[in-house]
């Protein structure tokens, strides 16, 4: 039996060694709040593994397994299959992985689960690089962002995870952001209710890797949405809905200007980025009419 050494308000312990101002921590707490104790979790190595624990100590009150970096989806599939075999259809199965473990090395296993329509909730917290190992670029790192493996700024755009997921014709996929927790929790709730696999891709700013003051995590997350650098939408049974109601996007400067990782961008770069963001945003909003 889990020995509770310290009290906590929810299913997640209060003192977790995530950096001060960590966006991911908010995602984890929201997910646990929504899904509750009848949940099993798979966490790959990465920042979220801080919640798995260390030695005999864990920061979660639900059963979990830390798999390999690339098999979170498959491990979740295994849990689902075993629960089904035991006649248990109520316990929720959650895979909770970062962008590296999802869009890079884990995309194959994720694709497998989505194609098989295994009833698994997959939450990808996206801090746009491999933060736990020291801020190396992932395929979810945006163009021009400086990381330790793209010191001069990444020269290509990011992989579009949710579109990849949607192309598997799954019942529910959404993007969300930690600046709107109500929306985030509503989406996790929906994801847990559909019959089949679901994906929630959550923008989770990282003060350490993006180089801004920890107090600005929410501000940065909000600016990402307001400038169109992160598009908040959901896809449910073939229908797209934009979850951000604003006619005009703010200039990207209001987002990138907050972060050290975009410091090296030239005026030309910013112009390019602005155009790309606009084109990307228009493409999506086009789908949502």
């Amino acid at each position: 039996m889990l020995e509770v050494k310290h009290q906590s308000k929810g299913l997640v312990s209060h003192g977790v060694s995530a950096c001060a101002g960590c966006g991911l921590e908010i995602v984890m707490r929201s997910a646990m709040r929504v899904l509750g104790e009848d949940t099993m979790i798979i966490i790959p190595p990465g920042c979220a593994a801080l919640f798995s624990g260390f030695g005999k100590e864990t920061a979660l009150k639900i059963p979990g397994f830390q798999g390999n970096l690339e098999n979170s989806a498959a491990c979740a599939s295994g849990l689902r299959a075993a629960l089904n075999a035991k006649g248990n259809t109520h316990t929720k199965v959650l895979a909770f992985a970062g962008d590296g473990a999802t869009v890079d090395i884990g995309i194959q296993a994720l694709s497998g689960v989505l194609e098989r329509r295994d009833k698994v909730i997959y939450i990808c917290y996206d801090n746009e690089a491999y933060m736990n190992t020291g801020i190396q670029s992932s395929s979810s790192t945006p163009q021009f962002a400086s990381t330790t493996t793209t010191p001069a700024g990444k020269n290509t755009g990011r992989k579009d995870l949710v579109q990849i997921a949607i192309s598997h014709d799954i019942p529910y996929a959404a993007t969300a952001s930690i600046y709107n927790i109500k929306d985030l929790e509503r989406k996790i709730e929906k994801a847990s209710e559909v019959d089949g696999p679901s994906l929630v891709h959550v923008h989770a700013p990282c003060p350490t890797g993006w180089r801004y003051d920890p107090s600005k995590t929410i501000q940065v997350a909000r600016a990402a949405v307001e400038t169109g650098c992160w598009i908040q939408y959901e896809y449910e049974n073939g229908k797209y809905t934009l979850n951000y109601n604003r006619k005009a996007l703010k200039p990207i400067e209001e987002y990138v200007g907050l972060q050290g990782r975009f410091k090296k961008m030239s005026a030309e770069d910013k112009k390019t980025m602005q155009e790309n963001v606009k084109a990307h945003f228009d493409k999506y909003t086009g789908k949502m009419i």
Binding site: E3, H6, A20, K56, E57, T58, K86, G87, T217
Partner: protein
């Protein structure tokens, strides 16, 4: 549906499990990381709960009925300052650790 497994965990027998397994729910003393602590000016607080919802460590509790409406658990507060930055009434500020009680 097969239900072969006896819930052998029910009888609460202690066993040694082998390999990596965590079975203690623990909070680290993250309060010790703090260089600055958030301090609330209750005069302007409207008890909106925004600070509570955005706190990554979930250490803020709003007491609507109390004048000292915002309770912060300093054992775990890392002093990130998100509450300070997000408070719509600007009634939380960071002060250097040790400068106030």
């Amino acid at each position: 549906m097969q239900k072969q497994q006896e819930q052998q965990t029910r009888n609460c027998k202690k066993i040694n499990v082998y390999g990596p397994c965590a079975n203690e729910f623990v909070s680290s003393n993250t309060g010790s990381w703090r260089l600055e602590r958030p301090v609330v000016n209750f005069e302007n607080c409207i008890k909106c709960g925004i600070c509570e919802s955005f706190c990554p460590c979930n250490v803020i509790t709003i007491h609507k009925e109390l004048k000292e409406s915002v309770e912060i658990d300093y054992d775990y507060c890392k002093g990130c300052g998100i509450c300070v930055n997000e408070c719509p009434k600007n009634c939380i500020k960071l002060v250097a650790e040790g400068s106030v009680e």
